[in-house]
């Protein structure tokens, strides 16, 4: 057999043996589900993926999984894949406090921006109209009655009649004063509505659109310290969330 053919046969045998060895390597499956953020990016060992519901074929053993999204708290964990088995892991991602605050700010911004401004002027008109109505229909009548009592008082020489008109005047004056206070109280409500209306307009004009900013690098920096039992000491280090 020529040497050239012998070499080719040896290469072929080694290739077949390597394929067979590869086929006999222990494998398992990992079914990964991510809830809460469909756009989350995750890394299994050194490979990066994006789909939130996927099954992977991996070598049996433990694998390092990191799940990250700009809106959520990063998950950093280890999963275990058994031979010829499907390990199912589901992760519920929690929103960052900054993102929750941003959502609240944005909801408030939208509420302010979409407020129906015609309501306040209508209430202002209603309150002013009510105040005028109270004045014309009630307060003015009591005022006229008080003046009539004053006229009757001045036009008599009878002491009992004068005392009666004094009592009438005091009664009508008290009612008139109460009605005037009511009337001006209603005008005060109208003034408050007016001030509130202007305040809403200014607030709407000046409210900035909220912006979501990621956590600062400093807040993502963690200092770790843990015991080293083998060397009887402490190990420490810095870790930053990416």
């Amino acid at each position: 057999m020529p040497l050239k053919k012998l070499l080719s046969l040896l290469v072929l045998c080694s290739f077949v043996c390597s394929i067979a060895q590869a086929q006999t390597q222990e494998k398992g499956f990992l079914h990964l589900r991510i809830y809460g953020e469909p756009d989350a990016v995750y890394r299994i060992d050194e490979n990066i993926f994006r789909s939130p519901d996927t099954t992977f074929m991996l070598s049996a053993g433990s694998h390092h999984v990191k799940i990250w999204s700009p809106k959520t708290i990063m998950r950093d964990t280890v999963v275990l894949v058994n031979v010829n088995d499907t390990a199912k892991y589901s992760f519920m991602l929690k929103l960052l406090p900054e993102y929750i605050q941003y959502k609240k700010d944005y909801a408030e911004f939208m509420r302010v921006r979409n407020r129906r401004f015609f309501v306040s002027p209508i209430w202002m008109g209603i309150t002013i109209g009510t105040g005028i109505f109270v004045n014309k229909q009630f307060a003015q009548k009591q005022y006229n009655k008080a003046l009539d009592a004053k006229t009757y008082y001045s036009g008599t020489g009878n002491q009992s009649k004068m005392d009666e008109e004094k009592a009438n005047f005091a009664t009508y004056k008290r009612k008139y004063d109460n009605l005037k206070k009511t009337e001006y109280g209603i005008y005060g409500v109208s003034a408050a509505l007016f001030v509130n209306y202007i305040r809403i307009l200014i607030r709407q004009k000046n409210t900035p659109v909220p912006q979501f900013t990621e956590r600062s690098a400093f807040s993502r920096l963690h200092f770790n310290i843990y015991p080293d039992l083998e060397n009887r000491g402490l190990r420490y280090g810095l870790r930053i969330e990416l």
């Binding site: 005022y143 008080a146 003046l147 004053k150 008082y153 001045s154 036009g155 008599t156 020489g157 009878n158 002491q159 009649k161 004068m162 008109e165 004094k166 005047f169 004056k173 008139y176 004063d177 005037k180 206070k181 009337e183 001006y184 109280g185 005008y187 005060g188 003034a191 408050a192 001030v195 202007i198 305040r199 200014i202 607030r203």
Partner: protein, 141 residues
Amino acid sequence: MAYELNFRNMKKAFYILAAAFFLLGCKSKLDDVQLNDNPYDHEYAGPKVVRIDSVRRMEVGFHVYATKVSLTSSTEMYQGAILYRNGVAIKTINRTSHASVLTEALYDNTAVAGTAYSYTAALKYDNGKTGQSDAFNFITP
């Protein structure tokens, strides 16, 4: 410095408006109206509306003398007048004219010559009467 229209200033404006309306509501147009200007009222607080202008002795008949007391009133609202001598009512007359000034004179027919008297007068209306005028002291000649 430019006045900045912000929420804090709006709050101040609201307080100022509320205080202004409260003060407006407390002030009543009837506060200035007082019911003590009727001279027939016991609580009358104005000036006296009747005064004695003159007192003189005069002959009203043949050797008949009387003391004539002339009055002036500052109000048209009266139906008559009362003459007091030393605090005792001795004469009442009814109004006979509608003149703005009381023109009637009252006569004291019982005055004793050489005696000093203190005369006062009051107006009457609707069963009521005014306070008495200032006293006019007169010695009957």
